[in-house]
């Protein structure tokens, strides 16, 4: 198991967002967490990455207890993440965005006197190409289209060479075409690098096409999990999704 979540609980001012969730992710698995809005998906992610402290429960990553570690230490253990609302360095170029993550990963962030521009050009370029932004290296990232910014964010996460990648709604706000391209990209990179992938998504087509295992979160609780077929035929899941009108 690469990640063990044991009975974690998180409440905000009395509202229980995550209510005793336990789950385990195997190395190399592609898993997704689905659930209606407000089910607690993003909160669960924030608990796993250390952005929020859990009220109860335990989190173990690669055999290390990460329950009380700050995000930067969890990241350094080999966890990468993208955020639901795009999270890049908007006034820096695409190259600089990725290079910053490479610098940290390869332990050069405490260098005070050498020109930064000369560091890890090839490594950075390789990642830029991998996420399909080859022509945009010198573009100021804040001026990229929304879809490209999401791709850049994926690149930032990959630059740390994570073993476990958490993607929070990687295709949120994308057109059907962009969604298709992005998921293809994510799937290809995940397989190439043998990554473990955990993602949330509201687009059911995406979820069922790529996931090996699906977990269903509802009102802060895990109510079902299994292969896409099992989840599709689960009566509780059907009730939730049929009951929810969009």
């Amino acid at each position: 198991m690469i990640l063990n979540v044991e009975k974690v609980k998180k409440s905000f001012d009395g509202f229980v967002a995550v209510n005793g969730v336990s789950l385990a992710i195997k190395k190399g698995e592609i898993c997704s967490i689905i659930g209606p809005n407000g089910a607690g998906k993003t909160t669960l992610f924030n608990l796993i990455t250390g952005h929020l402290p859990a009220n109860e429960g335990k989190l173990v990553f690669k055999g290390i207890d990460i329950t009380h570690l700050p995000p930067h230490q969890i990241c350094r253990l080999g966890m990468g993440r993208s955020f639901q609302r795009t999270n890049i360095f908007p006034r820096l170029t695409v190259f600089q965005n990725i290079q910053a993550a490479v610098l940290v990963h390869l332990g050069k962030s405490f260098n005070f006197f050498q020109p930064v521009d000369s560091f890890f050009r090839e490594e950075t370029q390789a990642i830029i190409e991998k996420v399909g932004l080859k022509e945009y290296g010198e573009t100021v990232s804040g001026s990229l289209s929304y879809g490209f910014q999401k791709q850049l964010e994926l690149g930032i996460a990959l630059a740390s060479e994570p073993e476990l990648l958490l993607l929070d709604e990687p295709t949120a706000g994308m057109s059907a075409k962009e969604t298709h391209q992005t998921m293809e990209l994510i799937g290809r990179i995940t397989r190439e690098k043998g990554l473990t992938l955990l993602f949330t998504e509201h687009d059911m087509e995406v979820v069922f096409s790529i996931s090996e295992r699906i977990m269903v979160l509802h009102q802060g609780r895990l109510i079902a999990e299994g292969s896409p077929e099992e989840v599709r035929s689960n009566s509780d899941v059907q009730k939730i999704y049929l009951g929810e009108t969009r």
Partner: protein, 309 residues
């Protein structure tokens, strides 16, 4: 790309080195003042423009530097070079202590706390009569003979400021400096590329305090006397205005801001006593019409021309 600004810089330094040949006391005085305040403003801008920390208490490290240098010489008979270096390190230590608490807060609360701490330092200097002379100030500091002409002191200041800028420029162009920029852009994301954001912010504070201390020590010699006023909050506000006016996303922007404000003030106060009114008007106009001002900073989501500088 690298050569062009370098030639420009060399030319500028040469011009500055030739300034005393004008034999104008006015320009030597103004030049010294601009160099000192320019260094002070650039030290602030390491926090403001590079790390995204709106520090409202920069006068504290400036004042600590000024008083350290002067007091060591006057009360402890320490030789000038040692006292001068000590001023820089005391500025750094002051920034370490104040920064340690301030980085625990964010945004407006952070700024208010930096202000609160600088006012505490001011109050200590103001009330500690036996050491600092309190409100009457510290007068008659015996600075070394070899700096006792305005031309010599100008050259000394020029050398110190150029060397300081050289180091600061290296730092902001280094990987460390780039990480500071990512913190400015997005601290949350920076945390999750594996950076201990608070530690980097604290180091930025220390570097900033170090050079603010140097500029303060220079200012003390320049004035031949010290008053608690140079730690009072309008001093912090003034250097903040210099940085913002000149452009906080550019390395030399704050120096330009210092030059404009000091020159205008000298010009205007010889005609009218309404300098604050004119300064306020200029500030308001510049903030509206120049995108590098406060408005540009708050709207940092919008793409900015050139990611580099």
């Amino acid at each position: 790309m690298m050569l062009k600004p370098n030639w420009f810089l060399i030319l500028l330094i040469l011009l500055l080195a030739l300034l005393p040949l004008s034999e104008s006391r006015f320009y030597i005085f103004l030049g010294t003042d601009i160099l000192i305040m320019g260094l002070f403003a650039v030290s602030l801008n390491l926090l403001l423009g590079y790390t995204g920390l709106v520090s409202f208490g920069q006068a504290a490290y400036f004042g600590i530097g000024a008083y350290t240098c002067a007091l060591l010489m006057k009360k402890a008979a320490v030789v000038f070079p040692v006292a001068f270096v000590a001023a820089a390190f005391m500025g750094m230590i002051g920034a370490l202590i104040i920064g340690f608490f301030c980085i625990r807060l964010t945004k407006i609360y952070f700024s208010m706390l930096t202000l609160a701490f600088s006012q505490i330092v001011w109050a200590i200097v103001f009330k500690w009569n036996s050491l600092t002379g309190g409100d009457t100030g510290l007068i008659g500091i015996n600075f070394p003979k070899y700096l006792d002409s305005s031309t010599r002191f100008y050259y000394f200041t020029l050398a110190v400021v150029v060397i300081s800028f050289y180091f600061l420029r290296k730092v902001v162009d280094s990987p460390f400096g780039r990480i500071l920029a990512t913190i400015r852009e997005n601290p949350e994301r920076t945390e999750f590329i594996g950076i201990n954001v608070k530690r980097f912010q604290l180091i930025a504070f220390m570097v900033s305090g170090f050079f603010a201390g140097i500029s303060g020590a220079l200012f003390g010699i320049f004035n031949h006397s010290l008053f608690p006023d140079l730690l009072y909050w309008p001093m912090s506000a003034e250097v903040l205005i210099m940085s913002i006016l000149g452009g906080m996303y550019s390395f030399f922007g704050p120096v330009v801001g210092a030059a404009v404000i000091l020159y205008l003030r000298m010009l205007v106060t010889s005609y009218t006593q309404y300098w604050p009114l004119i300064m306020g008007t200029i500030l308001a106009l510049l903030l509206f019409f120049f995108p590098g001002g406060i408005v540009g900073f708050l709207k940092s989501q919008r793409p900015f021309a050139g990611g580099k500088r």
